[in-house]
Assembly symmetry: C2
Homo-oligomer: 333 residues x 2
């Protein structure tokens, strides 16, 4: 029987708890065992962009990354939900150029840049959003690189395309579960379902990969190191992944996903974390992952870049502090 | 003991329920009795902008509305969370001008227009958002009109200011509850807490006001009639309140509120409805209020402006249908 989601974050306004978020959270060790859990570890979930590191594994294990000389920065972008700032779009455009491709080869669809200044400038100049502005364009540049290596046809986002077949196999391998199916993501790629336990197990696989000698583990380690070497490429200035990866007190790779997903990889402890706000709220997932990092001692609650997500102050349109977000008490200790 | 919120809406992607929203919903009759409820009728809530009709009552009962010759359009704006389209901001600016005031008299704070074309045009022209663009500027024009009538000082949003004292008294009268306090709203006005039952009771008060002869009931009827005479002023083109008020099969006044609130006033049945998504999600509140209108026979599920909120299709960045929102089965029947 399904276990109900547990409280993970609350929204306070004045003396009242105005809203409350419930969800699931699982912490796994290197063996895949559950160290701690809230809500239902067996809940079936779509990890959305929190699965990008998994989707990037075949890019390396296939030999494509080495054949095309991908840098750590490019591997970080392959795992990124970037905000379409100039440093992101320039890097993806150059990467596509290295493959002899351009924006038209992407299948992620156009998205308004999430960088406020870029978005405003594009409106002023009458420029339309391109596919490189899509927060997933780095992942798709990775897909195109793998596809060039595999010699597949252009529609690399089809679920039976060799690129996606490889992603499914990688997902099932690191989650140690048969995926019950997929949903189509915002970027049109299939997103393979797993359980919360499966996703936390996958993150623990990444966190413990450096202790193993096989080639997929080496690929996992390379991706994790690329992410925390380039936190700004994984998301962008001001974003939770970037700010938290800079603030942690030990190397941690962090990745958000749509509909309230968040994962963390802690290589020094060889543990992985998966969080899903059951209602899909990003603010709750950000608060909960910050709380679990503080709980584990990998982040300090008083660090401004941690507090910005752990206990953010809510300000109104006159910049008056009117409330705050707080983690559910059970997450912190 | 608190009753847990009940499922009100679910988010589907492919074959999976990706996210689920829980909340509270109460339907009251003219006597204030509960006809139907989901979740906890005794949950203490901040009704946010769903309380604007209540906050507009003193504007009429004080005599201010008649003294300053307010039109039904202005009364609809006093109850509105408008999107800052030109028809809204022009009307509020004229209203302020009638009082010999301008944007500086408002205390709601500036807000980027929620009308996409206005927002883009302002960026192109380098124009900064004004307070009239704030979705609450009509309510605040009403506060300023009441304040002129009462002769209060300029900071009409202070909780002990006569304008807000009058709002609190109106709230306690129509909810038939002592308010346990307030939170400061996005527009800096106090927002008085009540229970879900209290808020549904208040909406039933409005719905049955035409059956009573007292002056506050007459004011309530006038506001309800102003709202459904001017659905586009209450919100704006494309917005839930506006589209649903145009689509219903009998007169219904509808009003959204931040953090997942929604209320409905059905005068022909003399019933009121209050909905609160416990997690604060607007998409869930919109779906649930549409479902309850369909349940009661006041809206048709197949009407495109109802379906747009009852069972909206979720499309990704290539405009591919990837999922949908659906009301929890228990709401519809």
């Amino acid at each position: 029987m399904a276990i109900a989601p547990a409280p993970i974050a609350e929204i306070r306004r004045g003396p009242f708890i105005e809203s409350i978020h419930c969800g699931h959270a699982v912490i796994c060790d290197a063996s895949g065992g559950v160290i701690a859990a809230w809500g239902d570890p067996e809940a079936v979930v779509l990890p959305r962009s929190s699965a990008k590191m998994i989707q990037a594994l075949p890019l390396i294990t296939s030999g494509a990354a080495d054949r095309f000389g991908l840098t750590d920065a490019q591997l970080a972008l392959a795992c990124a939900s970037h905000q379409g700032a100039t440093l992101h779009t320039d890097a993806v455009t150059r990467w596509l150029g290295d493959l002899g491709l351009d924006d038209d080869a992407l299948r992620c669809g156009p998205e308004v840049s999430r960088d406020p200044e870029v978005a405003r400038t594009m409106i002023r100049e009458g420029a339309e959003p391109c596919q490189v502005h899509n927060n997933c364009s780095g992942k798709h540049a990775g897909f195109l690189t793998l596809n060039r290596h595999l010699g597949g046809e252009a529609e690399y986002i089809n679920p039976d395309h060799p690129v996606q077949v490889a992603c499914r196999a990688a997902t099932e391998d690191v989650t140690q579960e048969d995926s019950p199916g997929y949903g189509i993501d915002g970027c049109s790629a299939p997103n393979f379902a797993t359980t919360m336990h499966g996703m936390a197990r996958a993150m623990a696989y990444f966190a413990s990969a450096h202790s193993r000698g096989d080639s997929q583990s080496a690929a996992a380690t390379r991706l994790v190191q690329a992410m925390y070497a380039h936190p700004v490429l994984v998301a962008g200035e001001g974003r939770a992944c970037t700010r938290l990866m800079r603030a942690v007190t030990e190397p941690v790779a962090l990745k958000t996903g749509a509909e309230g997903f968040f994962v963390a990889i802690l290589p020094e402890r060889q543990i992985g974390i998966a969080v899903k706000a059951a209602d899909g709220a990003t603010r709750a997932a950000e608060c909960a992952i910050a709380a679990l990092l503080v709980r584990l001692g990998a982040a300090q609650a008083g660090h401004p870049d941690v507090a910005a997500f752990l206990t953010p102050v809510l300000r109104n349109r006159r910049d008056i502090a009117v409330g705050e977000i707080r983690p559910a008490p059970g997450l912190l200790s």
